[in-house]
Amino acid sequence: MDSYSLFSLVKHALSGHKNWQPAWRSPKLKPHYDVVIAGAGGHGLATAYYLAKKHGITKVAVLEKGWLGGGNTGRNTQAIRSNYFYPEATEFFDHSLKLYENLSQELNYNIMLSQRGTLTLAHSERELEGLQRWVTAIQINGVDSEFLTPAEIKELAPVIDISKNARFPIAGGFIQRRGGIARHDAVAWSYARGADALGVDIIQNCAVTGLDIRNNKIQGVKTAQGTIGCERVGLTVAGHTSVLAEMAGFQVPVTSMALQAMVTEPMKPFLNTMIASPVVHVYMHQSDRGELVFGGGADTGNSYAQRGSVPILEENARAILELFPCVSRMKLMRQWAGIVDVTPDTMPVIGKTPVDGLYINGGWGTGGFKAIPAGGDTLACTIARDKPHSLIEKFSLERFRSGELVNEAASSGVAH
């Protein structure tokens, strides 16, 4: 594998950038693997990488229905943060953030992590009290979070109207300064390249069409390119979690929904942090290219259609204008949607399943981009040891039977 560095850039520049190697191979499907991962989104690719890197399991295939990173991993708005409420959620998401902080070095690939902070706004006294409780909980859980007054918010993001006349006056807010964004495609590509270099086969255009289960144990996988044998299978298919679980004969408490996002035309630097308002139900940041990226609520009803409806688009645009009237004349350039699988408590379903040798990583809903490194790390460990990693014990499928839900609906609130 070509190592990326200033030196290699200069070297390749001298030959007109004509000799770069592909970042991963396009191997043929083999008849047998130790582990098969269904779905080459961030979670599937990260799982394969950590299986090979940390557990020495390299006979691994990642099977992808379409192209790698073409699901939610390539469609999300890139928000990364670990400011949840309950200790188990905070610990998990902070583990993820810590892995992100070192990912460019670890994978020798610039994921463009920009820790520009994520700012959450409150618009009334009552909301402020709720926010203060949340800030304190985060601090007690050992994660950075800071309360901000309207004046401090104005200093941080001058574009925000803090006057009394604003449609939604600013009562205060809080920031997690370590939060921010990373380039979503680069996260998928860097894990793909890292896994491939360790011997993992990434097979695109190869949907999993069935699971071979005998005596309640995984024996193999049926795919669009034929049936193969394997010892263990990991499902990392996001919006298609129910479809794959049905192949294995069980249900998962998720609803697949279309979540949309959109970008405006690019403009000069305008906003240097990620801003979310739970009440107005919208969030926004400015991409490195200068576009304003924003999103809000999901479309109503179950959907597998990967497109967002116009009424919800209007709703999200309206919400942005109420918060930032100054962007009213910006042109919207693109709008798109991904299918997210939402659980009743908004936390993931990750760990073992009722079938031996079958593991699940799903239910990330509207907020699993930030979870990719930790989701991959903990699922790989769970597959390797056939025992849930300690960080995900609370996120088992079993919790919906025992009633031990981890309700993070408030801190997952605006979908990012």
Binding site: S303, Y304, A305, D341, R401
Partner: protein, 95 residues
């Protein structure tokens, strides 16, 4: 804008409606039902890719709940019915 056929009012814009999710039924024998039956009812769903049976409400109209069969891949509403109508022709496109 998509239109949905309310069994009480006829075709109206989708923005007048809210989706109440998958059609589920409460365990009949409340005291006899075990934890599995209750948690199935509370949390577990088919989440079908394809024709899915749902309840919808004509929120900004007659405010009635009704049954709908909708294709989750195309969003086409195949059929709508009053909650009391078990069988019969129903409404909608019969696609």
């Amino acid at each position: 804008m998509q239109q949905i056929d309310c069994p009480w009012c006829g075709k109206r814009n989708e923005t007048e409606f809210s989706c109440g999710g998958e059609l589920i039924s409460r365990p009949q024998d409340a005291l006899g039902a075990d934890d599995k039956a209750w948690t199935d009812y509370l949390y577990f769903r088919t989440n079908t890719k394809g024709v899915h049976t749902e309840v919808w409400r004509h929120t900004f109209g007659c405010r009635q709940w009704f049954k709908a069969e909708r294709n989750t891949l195309t969003h086409q509403v195949v059929n709508t019915r009053k909650l009391s109508e078990e069988t019969g022709e129903g409404h909608g496109d019969h696609g």
